[in-house]
Amino acid sequence: MKFKQDDASVAALRNEIAAFIKTGGALGDKERSDKFNKLSIALFKIQFSAIEGYARYCVKKGVTPDNINDYLQIPPMPVSAFKSDDIFIYSNDDIYLTFKTSGTSGSERGRAYFSKTGAGLTSLAIIENAKNFMFPDKIDTHFLLVAPSPKAAPELTMAFGITEVMKNVGTLGGRHYIGPSGLNIDEFLSDIKKYENEGAPVSIIAPSFAMVVILDKLAEKNIKFKMAPGSRVLDAGGFKGRSREISRPDMLRSIEERFAIPPQYCINALGMSEVGTQYYDDNLKNHIAGVTAPATKRNPHWAKTLVMKLDGAMNYLAPQISSVKGALVHFDLSNFDRALAILTDDLGCYKEDGFEVCGRIKEGDVKGCSLTIEELIKN
């Protein structure tokens, strides 16, 4: 049964989750945990009712709305399920945004649908999280977004997310530097130079591979900037063969050398089209708080990331076991329209009180699912 966005029960739960995103961080541990559990189960019941394939899957796992009392019982939806067209609690008329997934195995890409109200909830989650992890010092910066605008790339989740941050965090705004003909490096460098001269702090946000391209161009021309204190860099995503791959320490060294932005102000984030929330490294937050600890990806209070054993039996590793890798599962209350629990094919492990992404889970070469029909035909 598909819902309508203004159904009373749906709207009430959405509002309750929005309130939790805004204020839940101030609750005590137990109260916050209980609230997360309650909201998760309530949201699961809606998603179970509205998404036929998900319901079938949950029933196969022995879980129904009638026998669940802990969010850990919620069967996480495999990311590959997004290749089907039915991962949405509303009818297709309510699709407001569609983000293409990056693809897991093979070339076929999935689609993550967002309603207008769902996009609003996602935006709220993105903004609150960015304030917490990217701007814990509450400094106002100029945004330089090495990404297309949402209008130019409506199916790109990163374009949406970072533009929401630019529009809603601080007052200075900024601009996008990827246009129809690719990266506008000259304009980017010109604006960077201007802010350097003005002594105005900036936030450079770029996909990781684009950051490498920029750093390489600066190195090629031996250009160095001395950006104002408080400037920061956020990179996200991997290299995916679109630039040379460099290690994290090498990237941080290059950023410091070319922009005079210290490593404490360089944050990596994990984002997925299928998941509303982005997961930030906590190094800047720690730095501002005077805490010395290795950078680790953190969950905001409305999301939890668990590491699932690879045994196929849907068992989670205990959080204290950090030496073993497994599949990352994200529980995210901002995933209102789709499924709040997502089973990724990212390999990861627990780290400190957060988690670390260690790569992709890859099956062996001889296995059939390493191929898709599209690949065969294309070949």
Binding site: R56, S80, E363, K367, N379
Partner: protein
């Protein structure tokens, strides 16, 4: 005998050093803390090639081996190959026992599956099968020894080796790599074989069997094991010195060899292939239950053998819902058959990543349009998916079989049509009056072998693998004609 990853005839002495490598023992027993993919290592002997291996050793080897093979009669070669095949069919043979243990440990295949694979490979590699294969392609045995009169065409003909041969093996079917050596010997070609790092054990064992019986054929094949990524130049050097290259592998391997091997060298490539079966309209009508159970077992056997990792194996069985047993009833028979084979041929152990991927694949099918239901055995190690597909569904292998509903033959043909380059084996269970239609349609669709359900994993040696005459491609002919 200690386990080794290579076999080099004495002529290579001085051109390599012996070292050791550690091969991972595949074990995905998942405990409380996670899956341990590396259940210890197996230390095996390995080679370190000196520069002189290629500058001197390989050339001398090929010359020496060509001379030996040229001096042998084809019947003697067949007798020797038959003798070695029978050794591997002898269940008391210690080398066979060692091979089964090692293959199982390294690849994850159950011992029963490894043994079954050896049985299948060598029972189709006996003297009668070899003779039939040679005659099938050449018309006679002696044509490989000398000029043979061809009275009908008023000429004499001889088939000569086109090699030397360089063969690159895969690891997906235990004992399969022996076939490249056997075919090379049957065409009197010296051969160097690069084994897969994922299963380097069997091929050296096979060649040691020739040495044990003091056969001169023991000097005619070299078996090497190296990682292409770390020794990219090796493969190039082997290709440079060979005239015929046989290669098994995936899309990346296919692209590499297709780009690297140019005329007049010859490439015999066996890349990814897709198998399937068809249960035709009315084929099961009025059949007794015992016959239906037998058919279900045959289908399960096609999928259980080699854990579906062979190109021969079916991804899908098309099932005509018109005038047949109800499909869910037939799937129930299939599930019982899969349970039976889990006992008889236990499924392979999977790595954590493979295990996860297979599970995620099955779970995601719940969301796929066209999937009516997903059936699994109690252990969840075998699965059947009831589907009405819009395109050819690819199995993640390891005993995941699609049963695809159809009503009209055109539905099947439309689904397989875009894959004509990749089709290979098709199992057919149709009424007699429909056979001709399917034989014609499938052959024109790119299928290179049609058989009955249950026979997919066991082609005869006469089968023209991927439509290619495997032996004849490794020879060149000389005809004497208009000579008075």
């Amino acid at each position: 005998m200690e386990l080794t990853s290579f076999y080099l005839p004495d002529i290579f002495n001085g051109h390599y050093k012996t070292g050791a490598i550690e091969i991972s023992r595949l074990g995905s027993e998942c405990g409380e803390t996670g899956c341990d993919d590396n259940a210890g290592n197996i230390k095996i002997a390995a080679h370190e090639l000196k520069d002189s291996f290629f500058t001197e050793g390989l050339t001398r080897f090929y010359e020496n081996a060509a001379a030996i093979l040229g001096s042998l009669k084809i019947k003697d070669i067949i007798d020797t190959l038959d003798c070695v095949s029978r050794q591997f069919l002898d269940r008391d043979n210690p080398d066979r026992k060692m091979a089964i243990e090692a293959i199982s440990a390294i690849t994850g295949f159950s011992k029963e599956s490894a043994a079954k694979s050896i049985e299948l490979e060598f029972s189709s590699s006996l003297k009668p099968e070899m003779i039939a294969a040679v005659i099938n392609e050449f018309g006679s045995l002696e044509i490989l020894d000398e000029f043979i009169p061809d009275a009908r065409n008023n000429r004499r003909s001889r088939a000569l080796p086109a090699g030397p041969v360089f063969a690159v093996s895969s690891s997906n079917i235990p004992a399969l790599p022996h076939l490249s050596i056997m075919r090379a010997f049957l065409t009197k070609n010296p051969v160097a074989v690069k084994t897969s790092f994922d299963e380097p054990i069997f091929t050296p064992l096979y060649m040691h069997a020739f040495r044990k019986i003091k056969s001169p054929l023991s000097e005619c094949a070299a078996v090497l094991c190296y990682k292409s990524g770390e020794n990219a130049g090796y493969t190039d050097k082997f290709i440079d010195r060979a005239n015929v290259i046989i290669a098994y592998g995936g899309i990346a391997a296919e692209k590499y060899f297709a780009g690297r091997i140019k005329y007049p060298k010859k490439l015999i490539m066996h890349p990814h292939r897709l198998g399937f079966g068809i249960i035709g309209e009315g084929a099961l009508k009025d059949k007794p239950a015992a016959r239906l159970d037998e058919l279900a077992r045959s289908i399960a056997l096609d999928a259980a053998t080699f854990d579906q990792r062979a190109c021969l194996a079916p991804h899908i069985y098309f099932y005509c819902v018109e005038d047949n047993e109800n499909i869910t009833d037939f799937i129930a028979r299939l599930m019982r058959a899969f349970e039976y084979y889990e006992e008889k041929l236990p499924p392979a152990r999977l790595s954590g990543a493979d295990n996860f991927s297979r599970r995620a694949f099955l779970d995601s099918l719940n969301f796929e349009k066209g999937v009516a239901d997903i059936y699994e055995t109690i252990s969840k190690k075998s699965a059947v998916i009831d589907i009405t597909p819009s395109k050819f569904p690819l199995s993640p292998l390891n005993r995941v079989l699609f049963i695809a509903r159809y009503q009209k033959p055109e539905e099947v043909l439309n689904i397989i049509k875009p894959l004509d380059k990749y089709l290979q084996n098709a199992a057919l269970c149709v009424k007699a009056e429909h056979e001709k239609f399917w034989f014609d349609a499938l052959s024109k669709s790119g299928v290179s072998r049609i058989c009955a359900p249950g026979e997919m994993p066991a082609p005869t040696m006469m089968w023209r693998h991927d439509g290619i005459g495997a032996l004849i491609e490794m020879t060149k002919f000389c005809d004497i004609e208009k000579y008075y």
